[in-house]
Symmetry: C2
Subunit: 682 residues, 2 copies
């Protein structure tokens, strides 16, 4: 049975891996870069297009603003990278923005950051997968024709892979990421060479199109607002930069320095690719519109519903490498792969953040265990479910999903940088060494500028995108924040209630005697075992209790009891309605009333079976009785398990489950490191 049902599961979820086989190796920079950079680098696959789409609202003439917007994004990228280089030096423990905000700005700010990041993980999955499907669709038309379906399929596939607990390796990340980076640079270089040296004129497939502006002749404040909106969309290129600050422990020594270098390298790569793609898009005459069917004009008429607007990167590649060429297809596939990889990072980050939040009791405590399969599974299923919902609602349309994105990242950026300013202020107050002080003041200036600039961008993003969808992201944040606050409050209330009083070390009435009761339905092995165990306990009083629901059976039980000569008194209670729970509860309550200082110890023989459906057939009365007994004060309930043969199956299932390895372990680093870090700094 178990063999048969295991086969499809093993195919889908895979053979579990032992967690102690986890690679405890640290990452060199050349591997760390792709591990952490797939998210920010992959966003150059859609960010340039989103900038052009927003500009197209004001018509083709607005396209000449694109270099300026690219410049603004570059400045912002440098600011953010410079800021986070300070973070990784100051907080090498891998706590990330949540830790920085909590330590320096208090738990509310920390919780805000956490909520923002949780929402952002969901959007990373939705946006990256949608963009991946669109990029893949530029080479394989089937994919783009069934966009929503393919996107949901990819999300489910990623979820299954992560539920499986894939054995991660740096190579897994390195190959597609380097392939993508190499492909883009090859495209930029070859395109530049053809255009500047050979003097070729390259034509994107949309170069002959015209754009019907939705708001022609936009000027003044309206134009500024539109440019700001285009800039906000371009800021999508910055998502994921903060990920490295969670992963410092995974780097080789000197950890902080290597992390900072990798961060700088990543920023440099990202801006080069971002600007290069925009430049080539201008040179090859790429046209993008928000509503391509009506606003893209070919030969004087709108292109209509049949037209598929391909991503900028695909159009540029087509112009540079030629339509359908090997390099074009390769780049499309590499782009899609790196985007799916970016989505995968969210699958790693979401449950990890959950476990850190659980440590601070903002989420159920059991999520705290590192790599606990159940916690990870719940997190992965929740993340995939939310992402599927978004993809389904927004039809896997990157342009519409991007409106919700970024809000979370910039909330997190701003609070983290503000926290860093406080961090330096605190350190400066206690530091006397001049060289160190100078260094700190410099760092503080960088973080202060970072906080200011990212805060400004946050305001811009909120102002320009609120009604376009950012409110959804904010609503998500509020829901996460509210839930986590409520959970924390509950834990605090309970902790107060159960705190041990110093004056009276024990609880209320001190118990004096134990009255043990063994529940008996029939005289079979489980009952005999329960009786044997209960007898070992040497309670002050021991009796067997049976509920009579059938007079013939009760008579048989009594006879068997005497025949076997069991020297435990057998008490039988009548139950006209064939109920089991109520007579027992009332009997126990009666005993407690007679002698309130007695503790009642109830022994329940329990069947251990291997399958959930078998469980439905056994123990149900016992379970319900147990549930009620727990509410009766002065009672303890002991299960005496009897393992049926079928329980072997469940045992083996549990063993396999224990051998599972949690996803995201490569970027988290070895476990000993994280152990040393105290749970809360505040």
């Amino acid at each position: 049975m178990s063999k048969l049902t295991d086969l499809p599961k093993r195919i889908l979820i895979g053979r579990a891996l032992r967690s102690d086989r986890l690679g405890e190796t640290l990452l060199p920079k050349r591997i760390a870069l792709p591990v952490f950079a797939s998210d920010p680098l992959s966003s150059v696959a859609y960010a340039p297009g989103e900038v052009l789409i927003v500009l197209s609202i004001a018509g083709l003439s607005a396209y000449h603003f694109s270099p300026w917007i690219a410049l603004a994004v570059v400045i912002l990228m440098f600011t953010v990278v410079a800021s986070y280089r300070q973070n990784v030096r100051a907080y090498p423990s891998g706590g990330g923005d949540y830790e920085v905000a909590t330590t320096n700005l208090g738990p509310r700010a920390g919780l805000t950051v956490a909520s923002a990041l949780l929402v952002d993980y969901v959007l990373t999955v939705a946006v990256s997968v949608s963009a991946g499907v669109e990029n893949l669709g530029s080479a394989i038309s089937f994919v783009v024709e069934h966009k929503t379906l393919c996107a949901i399929g990819a999300i489910v596939l990623l979820a299954l892979m992560n539920l499986r607990g894939v054995r991660e390796s740096g190579k897994l990340f390195a190959i597609p990421t380097y392939l993508f980076v190499a492909g883009v640079f090859l495209m930029l270089l070859w395109g530049g060479f053809r255009g500047l040296v050979l003097g070729d004129t390259m034509h994107a497939p949309t170069s002959g199109f015209d754009i019907k502006p939705e708001h022609p002749g936009l000027a003044g404040f309206a134009l500024v607002f539109l440019l700001l909106r285009a800039f906000s969309s371009g800021c999508a290129a910055l998502t994921g930069v903060e990920a490295i600050s969670n992963g410092v422990p995974a780097f080789r020594k000197p950890k902080s320095r290597n992390a900072a270098t990798t961060l700088a390298l990543m920023g440099l790569l990202a801006v080069t690719m971002f600007c290069g793609i925009i430049a080539l898009a201008m040179a090859t005459g790429v046209k993008m519109a928000e509503n391509p069917a009506t606003d893209l004009i070919r030969d004087g008429v709108p292109v209509g519903d049949g037209y598929t607007q391909h991503p900028v990167i695909a159009q540029v590649a087509e112009a540079v490498f030629g339509p359908g060429s090997f390099l074009f297809v390769l780049l499309a596939v590499a782009t899609a792969l790196v985007l799916f990889l970016a989505a995968n990072t969210a699958y790693n980050g979401f449950p990890l953040l959950g476990s850190i939040l659980a440590q601070d009791r903002y989420l159920p405590r059991q999520l705290h265990t590192r790599g606990d399969r159940l916690a990870f599974s719940n997190g992965i299923v929740l993340l995939a479910g939310a992402a599927i919902l978004l993809v389904w609602i927004y039809g896997a349309d990157t342009t519409r999903l991007i409106q919700l994105y970024i809000v979370g990242v910039f909330v997190s950026f701003t609070l983290s940088q503000t926290g860093m300013v406080r961090h330096w202020n605190r350190l400066l107050a206690g530091e006397r060494d001049r060289a160190r002080r100078r260094h700190m003041i410099r760092s503080r200036a960088i973080n202060a500028f970072g906080a200011f600039f990212t805060g400004l961008v946050l305001v811009v993003v909120l102002a320009t995108k609120f009604s376009h969808g950012a409110w959804v992201a904010l609503l998500g944040m509020v829901i996460f924040y509210g839930t986590m606050t409520a959970i924390r409050k509950h834990y605090d209330r309970v902790a107060e209630e159960i705190a041990a009083d110093d004056a009276s070390p024990d609880d209320s009435v001190r118990p004096s005697r134990v009255h043990a009761i063994v529940l008996v339905s029939k005289l079979h092995r489980p009952t005999l075992r329960a009786l044997a165990y209960a007898r070992l306990i040497r309670a002050d009083q021991l009796e067997a209790l049976s509920i009579s629901v059938d007079q013939a059976e009760t008579k048989a039980l009594r006879e068997e009891w005497e025949r076997r000569g069991i020297n435990v008194p057998l008490k039988i209670l009548d139950s006209p309605y064939r109920e089991v729970t109520r007579p027992v509860i009332e009997y126990v309550k009666g005993l407690r009333r007679q002698s309130p200082r007695d503790v009642i110890s109830v022994y329940i023989p329990e069947y251990v079976v291997g399958h959930w459906y078998e469980h439905l057939l056994h123990n149900q009365s016992a379970l319900r009785l147990k549930g009620r007994l727990l509410f009766t004060p002065g009672v303890m309930v002991t299960s005496v398990p009897y393992q049926l043969q079928s329980s072997e199956a469940a045992k083996q299932r549990a063993r396999r489950r224990a051998e599972w390895s949690a996803p995201g372990s490569v970027r988290r680093g070895p476990v000993e490191r994280r152990q040393k870090e105290p749970s809360r700094k505040g």
Copy 2:
């Protein structure tokens, strides 16, 4: 909190009633009749129409066969009633067909009857509610325009009422049933008076219509087949006759005799109404067609999709009382009410049959408890779900649903009557008294004729309706049969496995010592209580065990332990991955390996909370640990509950739940009666 959430629930589900407030009064015949007869009497609201619809396939000329079909139904009804009068005399315990078949024909026949009845309960709900909606729709057009929706709404409403545990009273059944019977008889008498005495010609709304036969000029075997099909549809009038045999204990003394008289009265009423309605339908020129839109011809053209075909009883009432008249509306409402009441009987019967099957271990044992709320809830939800599915698939169309109906009833009739023949044979073998023998031989003849006739009808029903939908009902029966057989096999296998061996009264190695372990996470009241209780137990060895997931917390625990001077050794296990379960399991296994004759007793402090969502926040690690420990041999697990303040809410909820009264109690009779009956006769 509990007050607020209770309000909507109380409105929907109602305030629970104490089960000891159940009317223990026995039913006089005038109340017993409506209690048991709503199902068979209500079927005259649709059975005549179904006969006409089948006949219409051969064209209007085939209508003249309708009196002959009515005659056949009448003979069948008398046969069945006469047969069941023997049943109620021979088996006054209320076990019904299941008991008769199991006792006389063996468990397989019994299980077949049970499967058939379970399927039939589902169809009773689906058919009665659909017919009720159609009848109500003849007066209120909104209802028939939203037929499926209204039918599903009615099913859900009935389910809620039954989940609520309505306090039943005979009056509840008596008023609509007598109203309906009175209405129909008034219609028959007034119609007869107008037609025969006043010489009025009454016109049904369809009297001027013509019918386009689907198979014109049907003759020979095909015609016979069609007539048999019409007869099968008319047999719907017989469903529910067997219900009285389950309810004998609810009658006043002499129970069997009163039940038999009520049965005869019910049969007489049913056939009179059935024949009267068919006669009036002929007299007023009612036309019914299977596909009214195309086959009903008005002024030479089909009536089209906009036409609603009203039930025969409504058309006759319109002709006799006049369209829209008070009596017409009253009868429509009474008909709908009595049909909903008929559906309600299935809600009572389904879980009751389930509890009898659970007693014989064909269903999970916990369903055995009489009036157990959980068992009833599961049964009601399953029944309503299946009925909704059918109503939804078949668009609440009585004509299509009726094709699935009856199969179950006639399987049950045939097996029950065959069983009765065996019963008399057995009794006759041991009986010497001549008068009694003569009586038995007479009864046997009646039952033998009943078995033959109902068996014949079963064959006819299967032959004529199999491809029209009866296969669905058969499939349902097979599924029920298979599931119940599998459950019984499982129980038998387990019973064999756990049977106590006579040679060695105890299990394998006799345990000698107890090693008690108290699990400790922090030193709070729940832990202190668990320590206090465990100390009372006087185990051979007692230690406290804590898993170190955070070094700072562990240090604090150790200090607190010493400060309080707790004289129990504290053992601390390291867990680098912050796991709790695995280190404990491995420690316990190690102890068992060292001394295999020790029993390990693990004490787990457990938090008792009031709400399910609070439960998610606590005890999860404990629960999982407990789940794993159960698979470890030689271990017993003791929960030491600590009742948090919020647990009060759950306690009160449990109390309210205990005060619930099960539906269907009126027809089941008082509990003492059923207790005396042995569970199985075989």
